[in-house]
């Protein structure tokens, strides 16, 4: 990272800090907060999909587990935010360790199917164990966050909380990806057998990426529960998987900023295309198909593709 791009990042962060004063629009602020929560989710999913190269379709389950851990802890034990928040991450991570331990031995289609099944089973459990989870009714009345007496009762306060969490998470991911661990991940993605042959423990590194992603999703779920004050089994729906995949693919998998771009664009875009509201999901389907076919490395790659074409022209002329 040279000085020039450092300055770019600092200006960007300053802009994000000033944003609430600039827009002065509660609804837009709400969308940005949701965009931030999606950023956390997609960045976590990116670890296993973008860096390990295994397609996981159960990411919303970890989000849901985090949200339900928080909701249930509050409902049953009235424990404070910080404890609930951390436990949401930890319990989600523990469950994902167990699940990853069984499923990450297999690659490809079998892994994909296991993850869909896991999401489906979690949905069934939350729906049917009414005594424990309150079933379809969901859990309502979760209060706002309260840290040591400070009450998060404005959108702006949530905005800054999410902003800090996103920046911190992205920084950690950036450090991870550019460390020995990240190099091992990419080696596994590019050629698993080769990675094995040079002594990389594929199972261990895949698991680490998977569990890290789940941990982040669990934390995001906790924040979401506090922010929306209500959670329901709908958090475990496959349509959320789809949304996350569209964000990840269009943003650009295997990059640090791709998930951020994808999450923000595809949180804002549907809201401003309200008139097509019932066509939202079919359009997402088409975007996914076209995105994979034409921009396999995300919308960012448009620039690359264009500049490549320009170069080709130069060469030929």
């Amino acid at each position: 990272m040279n000085i020039n791009s450092n300055i770019k990042y600092i200006i960007g962060i300053l802009l994000l800090i000033l944003l609430p004063f600039l827009i002065n629009n509660e609804y837009l602020l709400h969308l940005l907060i949701m965009g931030g929560i999606y950023t956390l989710l997609v960045s976590g999913l990116n670890l296993i999909v973008g860096y390990i190269g295994q397609l996981s379709l159960c990411h919303p389950a970890f989000f849901g587990i985090g949200a339900y851990t928080t909701g249930l802890l509050f409902k049953r034990l009235s424990t404070p935010f910080l404890l609930n928040f951390l436990l949401a991450g930890i319990i989600t991570a523990i469950i994902s360790i167990g699940f990853g331990y069984i499923t990450l031995r297999v690659r490809g289609s079998a892994f994909i199917i296991m993850t869909v099944s896991f999401l489906h089973i979690m949905h069934l459990l939350v729906l049917n164990e009414v005594d424990f989870t309150m079933g379809q009714k969901g859990i309502s009345g979760i209060p706002n966050i309260n840290i040591l007496g400070y009450n998060f009762n404005t959108k702006t306060s949530y905005y800054y909380l999410i902003l800090i969490l996103c920046l911190f998470t992205l920084f950690i991911i950036y450090r991870l990806v550019n460390s020995e661990i990240g190099r091992a991940w990419k080696a596994i993605r590019d050629n698993e057998n080769l990675a094995k042959s040079i002594g990389i423990n594929v199972f261990k590194f895949s698991n680490f990426a998977f569990v890290s992603g789940a941990f982040i999703a669990g934390l995001a779920g906790s924040i979401y529960a506090y922010y929306i004050n209500y959670i329901s089994p709908d958090l475990f729906l496959f349509s959320i998987t789809t949304t996350l995949l569209v964000m990840l693919i269009m943003g650009g998998k295997g990059t640090i900023l791709g998930p951020v771009i994808g999450a923000i664009i595809f949180t804002l875009l549907p809201e401003y295309l309200r008139f097509i509201s019932e066509w939202r999901m079919p359009v997402f389907g088409v975007i996914l198909i076209l995105g994979i076919l034409f921009f396999p490395r995300g919308l960012f790659s448009i620039k690359e593709i264009l500049s490549m074409k320009m170069k080709k022209k130069e060469v030929s002329s």
Partner: protein, 285 residues
């Protein structure tokens, strides 16, 4: 009780068998992880529903719906699925998920989300043997599925095209070298697989509620069956499909009906842990 559950299970298993056969063919032949396979099941059910109402006759409605399924299958193979052959699994999965979402929601917009069933042509009076109680549509579904599987077996086993189909399935390059037009075989395979799934929809829609999301649940089961059987085993998939139908039926009768959808995945997890190549699969294949 036991016999009743067993028979119910075999009826459900007939549907699973039809869906899973198509899935195995597409998976084994074209190596496509087809998440959109369940949507053909769903579309088969909705077209049958509409055409049965239009012609006021189940059989004509069903046959016309199957013709539409065939046309859709040929079109989608030529336009999209053909490009996915040998693509990596991440690409095919994501694209077929896109197709699945698209079709599911289009049907939801066109037909609406409210659940319905296909009007069935039989008298309401069930057949009663001893203390077993079977409705006529269930009997019809069971035997129609057997006939479809029988015809498919005859086609694959004894016709020249069927043998070419098996040859391409087992070794594509050798098929090319003896002059088999494998592009034709791919289109044929996809069409058969998709249409048989559509037929399952047109049949089971008489006894189950049809709704736009039915394909997603079905494709999960189909995957579980195909991987449990061992990916390339057509007959294994049929066997497992009937077995799963029976296990689900017995499980929901004796254990819990809310969790009947979980059995498939428990079996799948056990298979992947202890025999990852599948029950009928070959090591290293």
């Amino acid at each position: 009780m036991f016999l009743q559950l067993l028979i119910n299970g075999l009826v459900v298993g007939s549907g699973y068998a039809l869906i899973a056969v198509g899935h195995t063919i597409i998976f084994g032949m074209m190596k496509i992880v087809n998440f959109a396979h369940g949507e053909l099941y769903m579309i088969g059910a909705f077209f049958t529903f509409s055409f049965v109402l239009l012609f006021n006759n189940y059989y004509i409605g069903f046959l016309v719906a199957m013709v539409i399924c065939i046309l859709i299958a040929i079109f989608s193979e030529k336009v999209l699925f053909h490009r996915l052959i040998d693509e990596d699994i991440m690409t095919t999965t994501l694209i077929t998920i896109g197709i699945s979402i698209f079709l599911m929601n289009i049907v939801q917009i066109l037909w609406g989300a409210n659940p319905r069933t296909i009007p069935q042509p039989f008298s309401e009076k069930p057949v009663i043997i001893g203390d077993i109680f079977i409705t006529k549509p269930r009997i019809f579904i069971f035997f129609t599925a057997i006939v479809i599987i029988g015809v498919l077996h005859w086609f694959i086993k004894y016709t020249k095209t069927g043998k070419a189909f098996r040859a391409t399935f087992q070794n594509r390059q050798a098929a090319l070298l003896v002059g088999i037009n494998i592009n034709y075989i791919y289109t044929l395979s996809y069409t058969i697989g998709a249409t048989v799934a559509g037929a399952a929809g047109g049949l089971l829609g008489m006894i189950y509620v049809i709704e736009p999301t039915m394909g997603v649940a079905a494709v999960g089961k189909a995957f579980a069956i195909v991987i449990t059987a061992g990916k390339k085993s057509i007959y294994g998939a049929i066997f497992i499909a009937y077995g799963l139908g029976v296990i689900e039926s017995l499980g929901s009768g004796y254990i819990s009906s809310q969790y009947k959808d979980v059995f498939a995945f428990i079996i799948l997890i056990l298979v992947l842990l202890f025999k990852p190549e599948g029950i009928f699969g070959k090591k290293g294949a």
